[in-house]
Amino acid sequence: MIAAALPGAVVEVVDETGAGDHLRATVTAPQFAGLSRLDQHRLVRAAVKERFDDGQIHALSIKTEAAG
């Protein structure tokens, strides 16, 4: 889902509790270049907003890095 919103992104998602609703995502994306970390996080949050809205995800920990 994150990779679809950010083409070229390398996404690693860890299910922290085994229940699938508390996730930790590490995202490296070319789109992050030049963006503040706040904006990088905003992009990731926006990509998964639907899953938050429908309650499939309760908590998401995010770590972002610009590619390259």
């Binding site: 706040l38 908590a59 770590k63």
Partner: protein, 131 residues
Amino acid sequence: MADPQLKQKVEELIAANPVLLFMKGTPEAPRCGFSMRVVQVLDAMDVEYGAIDVLPALQPLREATAEISDWQTFPQLYVNGELIGGADLVEETFESGELAEALGVEQPAEASQAAAPAQAPPAQSPPLQIE
């Protein structure tokens, strides 16, 4: 669309408090692991901060901060009117020393240790019973 009065109130609070944390629960009793992580960082920095429990008005506050800062999740830490971020970014900027710089304090020596991910629930010692 956020309630204009609430939005204005939130903006005033952010402007009036040099260090302001919107969190779930209170610093003494955080009701969310992410909020607890930010409280731990602020405690390690030994700074005074204002804390607002968002739980009584979660959705209206989400709408307000979405408009103010384009950020809808809590916790949110503001320093001098600027959003630092949620728990992940608070810890990242803490470890890098940027948070100390923003706060105008010295980086605590035990920074990396204090910022270790707090996965476990808060330690709860059983009440002492003296008979």
